[in-house]
């Protein structure tokens, strides 16, 4: 991986930020995930926190301070440059996840409004939402909440002027040019177009989050009956 264009920025005593760019873009985000895979494999780090176009590395500053008491952030930067510059940086194929979604009705209370705003029939909104392949750019906002890149640009839709106090768990939503899934009942301002019966975050599961940064995601249309069936299966 070419490393000359990466900005390295000391963030805190135990944290170094690598910035690849300043834009939300699928190709840039893919570089972030490739870098995370390499760095987690090759370097003794405490934590890697990927975002759209950057990754935060948390490390033990004493371990990265050599006998000459060099700046630990500089030592780590050198190690990162050589690890990323060494060539193959994407050893792992992204995981693929299929998310069943029941669109519209009580599960997607904003679908009709979204369709009206976009000037499309609701069926067309669903068709375009389900046709795209998405990638988890990062998780944040709440445990297990995926920010998905890949939304058909014709489906971009401003957030609601009045955010909801309680968005039901599993709600699939559009916020600006992105789509996401609420893992839990949360306050939120995105437009709700459907709901998945899958549990996105469970502290007793390993791993606790169904989705990881970098995963590929596809949606699949299900009807009310299948939603209830899958929900019952999860409870069993």
């Amino acid at each position: 991986m070419e490393t000359a264009s990466i900005q390295f920025e000391p963030f805190a005593e135990d944290a170094l930020l690598l910035r690849f760019d300043h834009r939300i873009d699928a190709a840039i985000n893919a570089r972030v995930h490739a870098a995370v895979a390499t760095l987690q494999r090759d370097l003794p780090l405490l934590e890697c926190v990927p975002a759209y176009a950057s990754v935060l590395l948390r490390f033990d500053p004493l371990a990265w301070q050599d006998t000459n008491a060099t700046d630990p952030h500089q030592s780590l930067e050198q190690a990162v440059r050589s690890a990323l510059g060494a060539g193959e940086t994407s050893p792992l194929l992204p995981r693929e996840r299929e998310i069943p979604v029941c669109y519209g009705g009580a599960h997607g209370p904003d679908l009709a409004e979204v369709a009206q705003h976009l000037g499309l029939p609701t069926g067309e909104v669903i068709a375009r939402h389900v046709a795209a392949e998405y990638r988890v750019a990062m998780l944040g906002f709440a445990p297990g909440f995926p920010y998905l890149l890949g939304l058909d640009p014709t489906l971009a839709m401003p957030r609601r002027r009045d955010p909801r106090q309680r968005v039901p768990a599993g709600s699939v939503a559009i916020g600006g040019a992105q789509t996401g899934i609420y893992p839990d009942q949360l306050p939120g301002g995105w437009q709700l177009i459907g709901r998945t019966p899958l549990c996105l975050f469970d502290v007793t599961a390993t791993p606790p989050s169904l989705l990881g940064a970098g995963d590929r995601v596809r949606f699949r249309i299900i009807d009310e009956e299948e939603l209830q069936h899958l929900e019952a299966e999860q409870l069993a």
Partner: protein, 332 residues
């Protein structure tokens, strides 16, 4: 062995060192706001370290101990009574079975820690017993204590004092709260953040020197700083990047906020500073209305001071463990 909550206090939560390593799935650190105070509270009762303690905010809870227990209070000086007897802070005290510990207000500071020998033994979630109020992780889905809650206490040998037969007993020695509870108004060290250079010149000067006061809507997620607003040279369109406890953000209002223990894992506001980790406990002890000011510090200096603090704290924790052994308080 358990403790029953009779009155919950203003905001009382179980906290330990927090959850590390889960930021990539959207789980923040949480944990004690004043980490050295939490560690010292555990050490005073001979805990091994890492046990969950109760973090009390401004006004503490009233608790009934179902069995005799050793406790210690650190952090902000908090009123503490069993019946008419006042308990000394930063000192191990033995409560009798059925003893009711009434914690009151704090004259200064914002957060006190109540450690109990054996630790509050609720089930860990993702490696920590810390309550995360927003992510709803931890004891009772991360909520603050409520009246009627029953908190289990872990097993640990009895701490023996020379007169441990007395029903209520305070150890004959305690810790000097200085420098661990430091309420001097010395400025808090601030490292440059990514967007510091984007502040206009007057705002740069104000940030390093002007007085701010802690906003009333401050909490475990963020300390809000009220003062003359800061301004950017030009508006910035930013995309979300990682955030950490100590990160100072500038929202459109111009009133900076410092993310604290329950910092979200990412944020999209301009990042104008990072509070030096060594000074974060001092900021955590500032309550709404308290004054606070900042001075610029270098990263090198912050790392050096943090290492020195960790060394001093490590030495003190070791001394405490030795002292408890010498006193015959715990088996060798």
């Amino acid at each position: 062995m358990s403790v029953t909550v009779l009155k919950p206090g203003l905001l009382s939560t179980l906290q330990d060192g927090g959850r590390s390593g889960h930021a990539a799935i959207g789980v923040g650190r949480a944990g004690a706001m004043d980490v050295p105070a939490w560690r010292l509270a555990n050490a005073l009762v001979g805990n091994r370290g890492g046990e969950a303690a109760l973090e009390c905010t401004l006004r503490g809870p009233t608790l009934r101990f179902e069995r005799a227990a050793w406790i210690a209070l650190t952090g902000a000086p908090i009123q503490a009574h069993v019946g008419a007897v006042a308990l000394p802070p930063w000192t191990a005290c033995r409560l009798p079975a059925g003893g009711v510990l009434q914690l009151g207000g704090m004259a200064i500071g914002c957060r006190s820690y109540l450690a109990v020998r054996g630790g509050f033994d609720v089930p860990p979630v993702l490696g920590s017993r810390s309550s995360d109020l927003h992510a709803r992780l931890g004891h009772e889905a991360g909520r603050a204590l409520q009246a009627g809650d029953v908190l289990p206490i872990g097993h640990a040998g009895e701490l023996r004092g020379p007169d441990a037969t007395q029903s209520l007993h305070a150890s004959c020695w305690g810790l000097d709260p200085q420098p661990w509870f430091d309420f001097a108004l010395a400025p808090i060290t601030l490292l440059h953040g990514s967007h510091w250079s984007q502040l206009d010149e007057a705002s740069q000067q104000r940030l390093h020197g002007a007085r701010f006061s802690i906003g009333t809507d401050s909490n475990r997620t963020a300390s809000r700083l009220d003062g003359q607003p800061l301004q950017l040279r030009a508006p910035l369109e930013l995309i979300s990047e990682a955030a950490l406890p100590g990160t100072m953000q500038l929202p459109p209002s111009g009133q900076p906020i410092v993310l604290m223990a329950e910092a979200p894992v990412t944020g999209g506001y301009p990042r104008i500073g990072q509070v030096a980790a060594v000074d974060l406990p001092r900021l955590a002890q500032r309550r709404p209305g308290d004054a606070v000011c900042f001075r610029h510090g270098s990263l090198d200096d912050a790392i050096t001071r943090l290492a020195a603090r960790e060394q001093a704290l490590g030495a003190l924790l070791k001394n405490l463990a030795q002292r408890l052994q010498q006193d015959g308080c715990i088996d060798g």
